[in-house]
C-alpha cells in the first residue's frame, strides 16, 4: 500500500514538473488535457525584405468554451538543422502571428503550443518554409498611383505656365502685405524680426520658412532695413545665413550683410521663447514674421509682438496653432498657404503653375469624399449592393495601411 502511494506521488511530481516547464517537445509527454490548435499554416509575409513569415491557425476547441480553458499560446520556431526556441507568447483567442525576425538564408519550422493550467498541447509542425524577398510593395500601388496623379498634375501645370498660359491664383492678403510691412519697419527705423519656427531643417515647414526668408531678405536688402533672426536650431542658422547673404548679394549690397543678423539661441522650446520675447520687448521690432512649425509658443510670441505694436504676419501648417495666429496676428497664412507663399511671392509662372497642380489633388479629394460619404450612407441605410461595393472599392484605393 505504502509502495503504491509512493509511486502515485512520484507520478504526480513528474507530471507537475513537466507541466511547469516551458512547453516544447516534452509537452507531448504529458497527458493532453486540452486540444491543440489545428490547421497551422506558415506562409511568406508579403512585400517585405525577406524577413517575415505569417502564421495562421484555428484555435484550440477548448479556447471556445466560456470561460476558455486555454490561458494563452506560445509560438515555437526551429531552424532546419538547428535548435528550437519560443519566439512569442500570445493571449487566449489569438489565431495568427507574424514572425518578423527571420533571415532569408534559413528555413524554418513552426509549432504552436496551447497553454492551460492543466497542461499544454503542441500542434503539428508546419512544413519547412524559407522567407522570400519582394522587390515591389504591391500593397502601396494605390499610394504610388495617387502620388503619380498629383505629381503629374503639378508638372503639367508648371509646363503649361512655362509655355505662357495665364494662370489665376487667388489673392493671399498676408503675402500682399509683406512689402508694406517691411516698408513700415524702414520708415520707423526699427528692425524686422523673422522667426522660422522651432523645428530643424528636416521639417518641410522650416524649408518653406527659409524660402520665404529669401524673398523677404531681398526686399530688406533693397530697403536697407535691419533684420534680426534668432533661431533655435544650428542647421537653420547656417541655412538662413546663406539665404540672407545671397539676397544681399543679389541686391548688390554684400557689404551690408553680417553674420550676426542670424543668431542661435537654444534648442530648448521655452528658453527660446524667453529669448525672443526679451528681444521683442527691448528692440521693439516694427514687423514680426512667424513662419514655420510652431507649438505652444505661438500665442506667447504673437501676444508679445502685439503688445509692442508690431505688424505681425504668421503662417504655419500646425493645425492646432493656426487659431492662435489668427486671433493674435494681423495676417495669418493657413496651412497650405505657407507652402504656396514662396511661389506666390516669386510671381514666376512656373512656380505658380505648381500651385495650380495642387488644385487637381483637391478636386480628387473633394469628389472622393462626397462620393464616398454618399455611397457609405446609401449603402448602409438601404443596403444597396452597388453602393456598398463602391464604398469598399474606394476604401481599397485610398486606404494606405
Amino acid at each position: 500500500m505504502l509502495f503504491r502511494v509512493a509511486i502515485a506521488f512520484a507520478c504526480l511530481f513528474i507530471i507537475a514538473g513537466v507541466a511547469g516547464q516551458p512547453a516544447g517537445d516534452t509537452a507531448l509527454a504529458v497527458q493532453q488535457t486540452i486540444a491543440p490548435v489545428t490547421s497551422l499554416i506558415a506562409t511568406n509575409h508579403e512585400y517585405d525584405n525577406g524577413t517575415g513569415i505569417d502564421l495562421i491557425w484555428v484555435p484550440s476547441i477548448d479556447d471556445r468554451l466560456a470561460p476558455s480553458r486555454v490561458t494563452g499560446y506560445e509560438v515555437w520556431r526551429s531552424v532546419v538543422g538547428g535548435s528550437g526556441s519560443r519566439i512569442a507568447e500570445l493571449p487566449a483567442g489569438a489565431n495568427k502571428f507574424t514572425d518578423e525576425q527571420c533571415s532569408r538564408e534559413s528555413t524554418y519550422v513552426y509549432s504552436v503550443v496551447a497553454i492551460s493550467v492543466a497542461g499544454n498541447a503542441v500542434s503539428i509542425s508546419t512544413a519547412p518554409i524559407q522567407p522570400a524577398r519582394e522587390w515591389i510593395n504591391l500593397h502601396r500601388l494605390n499610394l504610388l498611383a495617387i502620388a503619380f496623379l498629383v505629381s503629374a498634375a503639378v508638372i503639367y501645370f508648371i509646363q503649361s505656365a512655362r509655355s505662357g498660359k495665364k494662370l489665376f491664383v487667388r489673392k493671399i492678403a498676408g503675402l500682399d502685405a509683406v512689402d508694406d510691412a517691411i516698408g513700415r519697419a524702414t520708415e520707423m527705423g526699427r528692425p524686422i524680426l523673422f522667426i522660422p519656427g522651432i523645428q530643424d531643417m528636416d521639417d518641410v515647414q522650416t524649408i518653406a520658412a527659409i524660402t520665404i526668408l529669401g524673398r523677404v531678405s531681398r526686399v530688406v536688402a533693397d530697403y536697407d532695413t535691419k533684420i534680426k533672426m534668432p533661431v533655435s536650431r544650428s542647421l537653420v542658422m547656417t541655412a538662413a545665413r546663406e539665404t540672407i547673404k545671397a539676397s544681399y548679394m543679389a541686391a548688390g549690397r554684400p557689404d551690408a550683410y553680417n553674420d550676426d543678423m542670424v543668431s542661435y539661441v537654444t534648442d530648448e522650446q521655452f528658453g527660446y521663447v524667453a529669448a525672443v520675447d526679451g528681444i521683442m520687448v527691448r528692440e521693439k521690432p516694427a514687423t514680426c514674421f512667424y513662419l514655420g512649425a510652431f507649438f505652444a509658443e505661438s500665442l506667447i510670441l504673437a501676444e508679445t509682438g502685439n503688445s509692442v505694436g508690431a505688424i505681425q504676419i504668421a503662417g504655419t501648417a500646425m493645425p492646432a496653432q493656426i487659431p492662435f495666429f489668427v486671433a493674435a496676428c494681423d495676417f495669418a497664412l493657413i496651412g497650405e498657404e505657407l507652402f504656396a507663399a514662396s511661389a506666390y511671392l516669386s510671381n514666376e509662372p512656373k512656380q505658380l503653375g505648381s500651385l495650380k497642380g495642387q488644385d487637381v489633388g483637391k478636386a480628387v479629394a473633394l469628389v472622393v469624399i462626397v462620393v464616398g460619404t454618399m455611397a457609405a450612407t446609401i449603402g448602409s441605410a438601404w443596403d444597396v449592393t452597388f453602393m456598398n461595393q463602391l464604398w469598399s472599392a474606394l476604401k481599397v484605393v485610398f486606404q494606405t495601411n
Binding site: 518578423e100 525576425q101 521639417d203 512649425a293 505652444a296 500646425m318 495601411n401
Partner: protein
C-alpha cells in the same frame, strides 16, 4: 450630475477671490457700457487672482469621465494582467504640469492592474521627468515592483521619429541596453518583446514633436499596436482626426487628467490618499475659464457700445 460640484477644501479663500473677481467684473462692466476698452494688465491681474486663489486655498471637484478618456481607462482595465505596456514621456518641464499627472495616473493604473511597464522618452528633456515619476510613483507607491522584472526604464534616445521608425520592428537595434546599460537580452520582462509591435498598448504622453501623432504614424499604424494619447490641451484638437481608430482614446489637458484621476479613485479607493495634481489644478482652470468668459462678454459689450457710439456721431 450635481455631484460634479461636490466642493472640498477651504472655501473661504475661494469665496474671497470670487468676491474680488465679481466686484472687479462689475466695475469693468460699468466701464464697458461707456465703450471703454480694458487694458491687458487688468486682464492679467484678474487671471492672476483666478489662478492663484484656488492654489492657495485648494478646492477640488469630482469629475465625470468623458468617453474619450474612458476609452483609455477601459483599455488598461481590459488587458489581461501581465500584459506589457509602454509609457513614453515625450515632453519637457514646461509641459510637465499639464501632462505628467496623466503619465503618473497611467503608471499607477498599469501597476494596479498587474501590467509590466516599459518607460522611455524620445525627448531629451523627458528622461529627467521620467526619473521623477519613477521616484515619486513607482518606487514610493509600488516598492514591491522590481526593476527589469515588472518595469524597465529604456531612457532617452535621440532621433525623433527615426527612433519610432526602428523600434516598431526592432527594439534592440535602437535600444541594445536599458538606461543603466543592462543588455535588453538579459532583462526577463523583455524576453518576448522583440519590437514595439509586440506590446499590448502604448501610452504616448506629450504634445509637441515628436509626440502622440508620430507614435500613431510610425508605430501604431505600421505595427498594428493600440495607442492612447495624453496631450496638452492646446495640441489635443490636432489628435481628434486619429480617434477612435488610430488612437483608442485621448486625454487632453488638465480636465482629462482630473477625469482619469477621479475614475482611478472610483475604481481603486486605495489611491484616494495619493497626490492628484489633475484634480487639484481643476480649481485654477475652472476659475480662469470663468474669468476668460467674463472678458469675452465685456469685450463684446465694448464692441457693440463703440459701434453704436460711432453710428450716433
Amino acid at each position: 450630475m450635481t455631484e460634479a460640484l461636490v466642493v472640498t477644501g477651504t472655501n473661504l479663500g475661494v469665496v474671497i477671490s470670487l468676491a474680488l473677481i465679481a466686484g472687479g467684473v462689475i466695475w469693468l462692466l460699468v466701464r464697458s457700457l461707456k465703450g471703454k476698452e480694458v487694458e491687458r494688465r487688468v486682464i492679467f491681474g484678474f487671471v492672476l487672482i483666478a489662478v492663484s486663489a484656488p492654489i492657495l486655498f485648494p478646492i477640488t471637484f469630482h469629475e465625470q469621465i468623458s468617453p474619450v478618456v474612458k476609452a483609455v481607462f477601459d483599455k488598461i482595465e481590459s488587458l489581461p494582467a501581465g500584459s506589457t505596456v509602454a509609457i513614453s514621456f515625450d515632453f519637457d518641464p514646461a509641459m510637465a504640469p499639464e501632462v505628467q499627472p496623466m503619465a503618473n495616473a497611467f503608471t499607477r493604473h498599469c501597476f494596479a492592474k498587474g501590467h509590466k511597464v516599459v518607460f522611455l522618452s524620445i525627448w531629451a528633456t523627458g528622461q529627467s521627468l521620467l526619473t521623477s515619476t519613477l521616484d515619486t510613483v513607482v518606487r514610493r507607491e509600488f516598492p514591491e515592483k522590481r526593476e527589469r522584472i515588472d518595469w524597465v526604464n529604456l531612457g532617452y534616445k535621440a532621433g525623433n521619429q527615426g527612433v519610432l521608425n526602428v523600434i516598431v520592428s526592432d527594439l534592440r537595434k535602437m535600444y541594445p541596453t536599458d538606461v543603466n546599460a543592462v543588455p535588453l537580452d538579459s532583462i526577463p520582462m523583455l524576453a518576448e518583446v522583440k519590437a514595439f509591435r509586440d506590446l499590448s498598448l502604448i501610452l504616448a504622453v506629450g504634445g509637441g514633436f515628436p509626440g502622440p501623432k508620430e507614435w500613431v504614424l510610425y508605430v501604431g499604424d505600421p505595427g498594428n499596436v493600440p495607442i492612447a494619447a495624453g496631450a496638452a490641451a492646446v495640441t489635443a484638437p490636432q489628435l481628434y482626426p486619429y480617434y477612435p481608430r488610430q488612437l483608442i482614446g485621448i486625454l487632453g489637458g488638465i480636465k482629462s487628467a482630473a477625469e482619469y484621476e477621479s475614475a482611478m479613485v472610483d475604481k481603486y479607493p486605495q489611491f484616494d490618499s495619493v497626490d492628484k495634481p489633475g484634480l487639484r489644478m481643476m480649481g485654477p482652470q475652472t476659475l480662469a475659464h470663468m474669468v476668460i468668459m467674463m472678458f469675452i462678454i465685456i469685450g463684446n459689450i465694448v464692441f457693440f457700445r463703440s459701434k453704436r457710439m460711432r453710428s450716433q456721431l
